[in-house]
């Protein structure tokens, strides 16, 4: 009997789904950087990302039913928590990974503030083919702090064709050598991942405390019993 590949396809899909699920379950507890990146890759549905609605602006729209963001957020935290141990693996991924993996690696390296990653981030900021990787590499390079890359930022800003990456090069210059604040890194490490996507209509709003642009600390629950709050997340999915 000849079995055509098309008749096998549904079975393979089921098998692949089980495998992915099993891998996903193990990966939930993974603390080793390579396993964390692997787990992220397994859950990321690259094909679901569509082009933006504006033909003049290349880029991607996040799928509306995207579930991958939760795994991405957890991988982001787990890699930062793993600390310097992650840096070697992420530098490799930044070089050899798929675009979503390279974006994640570029983002995490900034939060690790590992000076050794400077050359890798500078290379990605200048040469990566994917503008989103260049953008995160610029952000992360700036988060390392210091003025060593000022000249590079200036030069890239002149040559960069992508408007958004160009903007981030301007932010990098404007931060004037300031490194990513310790409190930001600590808040990611201490974040209770169980609270992800926990805001529901008709239920208590998840409480939080954040610093405002003018440096004042604001806690949501401070308004309880006093006045209603209109809470606007001004950017999302970008």
């Amino acid at each position: 009997m000849r079995i055509s590949s098309s008749s096998l396809a549904p079975f393979c899909c089921v098998l692949a789904a089980c495998f992915t699920q099993a891998r996903g379950l193990c990966a939930e507890d993974a603390s080793e950087p390579h396993a964390i990146v692997e787990a992220f890759t397994q859950t990321w549905d690259e094909a679901a990302w569509g082009p933006t609605q504006n033909p003049g602006r290349p880029g991607y729209m996040r799928p509306l039913d995207d579930a991958g963001w939760k795994a991405r957020m957890k991988a982001f935290q787990a890699l930062v928590k793993a600390g310097p141990e992650s840096a070697g693996e992420l530098r490799r991924v930044l070089q050899e990974g798929s675009p979503p993996e390279r974006i994640l690696a570029a983002q995490v390296l900034g939060f690790l503030r590992s000076k050794e990653s400077g050359a890798d981030l500078a290379r990605a900021a200048e040469h990566d083919a994917d503008p989103a990787v260049r953008l995160y590499a610029v952000d992360s390079l700036a988060m390392l702090g210091g003025r060593a890359h000022e000249e590079l930022f200036r030069r890239l800003e002149q040559n960069e064709k992508n408007r958004d990456v160009k903007r981030h090069l301007a932010y990098a210059r404007e931060r004037d050598g300031a490194a990513l604040d310790d409190t930001v890194i600590a808040s990611l490490k201490q974040w209770d991942a169980q609270t992800i996507d926990s805001a529901r209509l008709g239920q208590s709003a998840p409480d939080f405390e954040l610093a405002s642009l003018s440096g004042e600390k604001v806690r949501l629950s401070d308004f309880r019993g006093k006045k209603p709050v209109v809470l606007v997340f001004i950017y999302g999915d970008t």
Partner: protein, 110 residues
């Protein structure tokens, strides 16, 4: 909403904005809309660069590339008991409540 802040204040409500960036991009955006001094922002503009609060509210910031058109803002109204009474999770860039819609929702809380 920024332009209608006094209407919101008259309605007895507090506007809070959450920005998933560090201070430098936030200040850059404000300058672009003509606000030079961050102290001139009359509502708390909270910074969430670790994106942990955004994640709790299901708002994700996954830059594939930072285009305004891939931005989907999200609005919640939380009543005096701390309960979420309104939510609008944008499907597109322009999918956001008007100030009048927000004021009408606040009226319903009374």
């Amino acid at each position: 909403m920024r332009e209608r802040l006094s209407d919101l204040e008259n309605a007895g409500a507090q506007l809070i904005a959450v920005d998933p960036h560090e201070a430098w991009p936030a200040k850059h955006f404000l300058r672009e809309v003509g606000i030079i001094d961050a102290g001139d922002v009359r509502y708390p503009l909270l910074l969430d660069p670790a994106q942990v609060v955004s994640a709790a509210y299901g708002v994700t910031s996954q830059m594939r590339i930072h285009t305004e058109l891939s931005n989907r803002p999200t609005t919640f109204i939380i009543d005096c008991d701390g309960v979420i009474r309104y939510e609008r999770r944008a499907k597109t860039f322009s999918d956001r409540p008007t100030p009048d819609e927000i004021l009408a929702e606040l009226q319903k809380l009374r």
